[in-house]
């Protein structure tokens, strides 16, 4: 009898604890309403599906026609294939849908995307991807050459090079490129941890296949709103910089790369 009472008491206590812990709204503070101008939140997901307005469609078509002409004069048709591979998958499903619809329509949409990357592909056509690294700076040329020489010597030496990190000049070239692309948000609290780690999966030409914020969970933690701003700025920098200045050889070595963005030094300085 006593035992049953104890078991019942224990289970009830557990139930009360679980209930108390699963009611987080109790601890939330009420939202202050603006006194003069009312602010209303729009559901983002609903609104992102809005179709193009009929008036807008006409303008888009006009622009497409103009671009079509431009592209046909400049870019060879082969590039279309490459471009598909290079396209970064968008996280938003809605956006994907819209892209698919666009592709069904006609050529202009494909050509349209060609335009924005024409300059990059033109560069690739002019210079072999293997020699891109050599264009970065002279020191890099030297390091690339030494790598090649070492490759020729023995298999063991080759392995040791492959399994190592980037050489100093390779790393410097990559850093210098990203420094120029990263606009640091100046309002970040410099006494907080301002490190964002981003893991990249790269293609042999240095363009980004996949980017992932390692400490993603921190974005949604209370009081870490600045981290989201910082992480987004780092992602923007990576996208703006691509294709990254990676070495011309040893793809296996750097096909996965981790970039540690730390704003603290800049903001404290």
């Amino acid at each position: 009898m006593d035992r049953n009472i104890f078991i019942s008491f224990g289970l009830h206590t557990l139930l009360v604890i679980i209930t108390a812990m699963s009611l987080p709204f109790l601890s939330k503070k009420p939202i202050d309403l603006p006194p003069i101008v009312s602010v209303e939140l729009i559901q983002i997901t609903d609104k992102t599906n809005i179709p193009f307005a009929p008036k807008a469609k006409k303008t888009i078509e006009k622009i497409k026609e103009k671009e079509k002409k431009l592209v046909s004069e400049q870019a060879p048709p082969k590039i279309v294939k490459k471009e598909k591979q290079d396209a970064i998958p968008l996280p938003d499903e809605n956006i994907k849908d819209i892209k698919e619809i666009k592709e069904e329509k006609q050529n202009p949409e494909k050509i349209d995307t060609e335009i924005k990357q024409v300059s990059e592909f033109e560069k690739k056509d002019l210079f072999d991807t293997n020699s891109i690294a050599a264009l970065i700076d002279k020191s890099k040329v030297e390091s690339a050459e030494t790598d090649k020489k070492q490759d020729k010597i023995t298999q063991d030496q080759n392995k040791s090079i492959d399994s190592g990190g980037l050489s100093l000049s390779e790393e410097d070239a990559l850093k210098a490129q990203i420094f120029g692309c990263w606009s640091i948000p100046l309002g970040l609290p410099y006494n907080e941890n301002l490190l964002v780690r981003i893991k990249l999966q790269l293609k042999p030409d240095g363009s980004i296949m996949k980017s992932e914020i390692i400490d993603h969970a921190r974005m949604n933690k209370p009081g870490q709103g600045f981290y989201k701003v910082l992480a987004e700025s780092a992602l923007r920098a990576v996208k703006l910089c691509q294709p990254l200045r990676v070495p011309s050889t040893g793809y296996e070595r750097w096909k996965e790369l981790q970039l540690n963005f730390d704003a603290r030094e800049m903001l404290e300085g």
């Binding site: 193009f52 938003d92 924005k116 850093k175 948000p185 963005f261």
Partner: protein, 446 residues
């Protein structure tokens, strides 16, 4: 036994593994972020209605121009030339084609629309990350049409906050002393304006000399000093009702009344018994309490945002320097040790810095230091300048500067200037007349 063999075998198998290469990025560029501010789209019907009420032909463009101007003035953004835009506002209002915005090197895009609904102004706006191709923020505001300028400021605040990680300072006002006439017979009036210089209004007639106006934490009240028959008086002024109230007549020289962070007290300095000390006055019961007690001259008190500490300047060391003490006057510490004289210390709303005026070798400097006195940085130098006041986010300082000649090359001139905490982006704030003693309000829409 079999498992043991397998285990040993697994250990011995040479695996070709590559360690993940890590690259540390510790530097970036501080150049302004390229932003495209598309004119907000507006339908013909709404255009007509707003034109009737506000005499504005295209309210969408007007609001976007406010946003653009605010962003440019901040020095952190570079709004792109609208002539380069490939998409019309009505397209941008829906789903932007990111390729087009990418092409003109925009990293962020602001779109939206303006409508006239039930005699009210409704503004929808969206902020897009062009490189990631996604929406970062979408908000709508509904207000009376006459509030249209504030809507532009609120949009800027939201964009600024989303992109920089700190709150904005655009939906704010500045109160200052408007000055006119020759230096020997100067007329000084209290004036208030939006932070961008618009909506300027005079709050006093100019019959009496007014000095050092300061906002209350709620922005509803202003405290200032006025000389009535050559006697200093501390006033309270309700901005919305226009009602004025004398807080008290104080003997001798009285200086710089300022609100406590909770708005319940006023802190100031005045001379009594032959020495100038820091006093507080409780606004409910009007009880005056002496905080500092020293034979020297203690002036310019300013509370820390949490109200626990007070910074002030004093000549107790022989030269005017900056000190910090507890709010009860105990534990007084000198924090400035540089060459020259230090004055008008003001605690940052973020609590991390103290702004000050420094006089050294005949030049005036506006600078900042940490609350323990370390990390002193002089932001700007000139012939005569003083009285810094912080923007509500603690990023920008506004102060006034006197020059020997005005724009016509005659007499002298006093104008308001603002400077970024980094020491860059120094700009003159346009005012209708000469101006001094500025004080920045907190965010109006808080």
């Amino acid at each position: 036994m079999l498992f043991r063999y397998l285990f040993i075998l697994l250990i011995l198998i040479p695996l070709k593994a590559f360690a993940l290469i890590e690259v540390d990025i510790t530097r970036g560029n501080l150049s302004p972020l390229p932003v495209a501010v598309s004119p907000l789209s507006i339908d013909e019907e709404s255009k007509k209605n707003f034109n009737k009420i506000l005499k504005k032909k295209d309210l969408g463009s007007e609001i976007s121009a406010i946003v653009e101007n605010n962003l440019r003035q901040s020095g952190l953004f570079n709004p792109l030339n609208k002539n380069a835009f490939l998409q019309e506002p009505d397209i941008a209002n829906l789903k932007p084609r990111f390729e087009d915005w990418n092409l003109i090197k925009a990293q962020a895009l602001i779109t939206g629309k303006v409508t006239f609904i039930d005699e009210k102004l409704r503004v929808e706006f969206r902020l897009w990350d062009v490189l990631a191709g996604k929406e970062m923020m979408a908000l709508a505001f509904t207000t009376v049409p006459s509030n249209w300028r504030r809507v532009g400021h609120i949009i800027t605040d939201k964009v600024y906050e989303r992109l920089t990680g700190e709150s904005g300072y655009f939906d704010t006002r500045i109160i200052y002393v408007a000055e006119e006439g020759p230096k020997t017979n100067r007329i000084k009036k209290l004036a208030i304006m939006d932070q961008d210089g618009f909506n300027n209004k005079y709050l006093t007639l100019g019959n009496e000399l007014v000095l050092t106006p300061r906002f209350s934490p709620t922005n509803q009240m202003v405290t200032y000093l006025s000389y009535f028959r050559n006697l200093p008086r501390v006033y309270l002024l309700d901005i919305e009702t226009g009602l004025q109230e004398v807080v008290g007549d104080f003997p001798g020289m009285t200086f710089a009344p300022r609100f406590s962070p909770d708005g319940k007290k006023i802190i100031m300095s005045f001379a009594k018994d032959g020495k100038s000390d820091i006093y507080t006055m409780d606004l409910e019961n009007r009880i005056v309490e002496r905080i500092s007690n020293h034979p020297s001259i203690d002036t310019s008190p300013s509370y820390s945002p949490d109200g626990k500490y007070i910074t002030f300047n004093s000549d107790r060391s022989g030269h005017q320097q900056i000190y910090v003490m507890n709010n009860n006057g105990k534990n007084v510490k000198r924090i400035s040790f540089g060459n020259g004289l230090y004055g008008t210390p003001v605690w940052s709303p973020r609590g991390d810095l103290i702004a000050f005026t420094k006089l050294h070798k005949g030049k005036f400097y506006i600078g900042v230091m940490r609350t323990d006195g370390t990390g002193e940085r002089l932001l700007t130098e000139n012939f005569y300048q003083e009285a810094p006041s912080w923007s509500p986010n603690g990023r920008v300082l506004i102060f006034y500067r006197e020059t020997k000649t005005n724009s016509k090359g005659e007499g002298f001139s006093a104008k308001l200037w603002s400077i970024d905490l980094t020491g860059y982006n120094e700009k003159m704030v346009e005012t209708a007349t000469d101006a001094s003693d500025p004080s920045w309000s907190s965010l109006l829409n808080n």
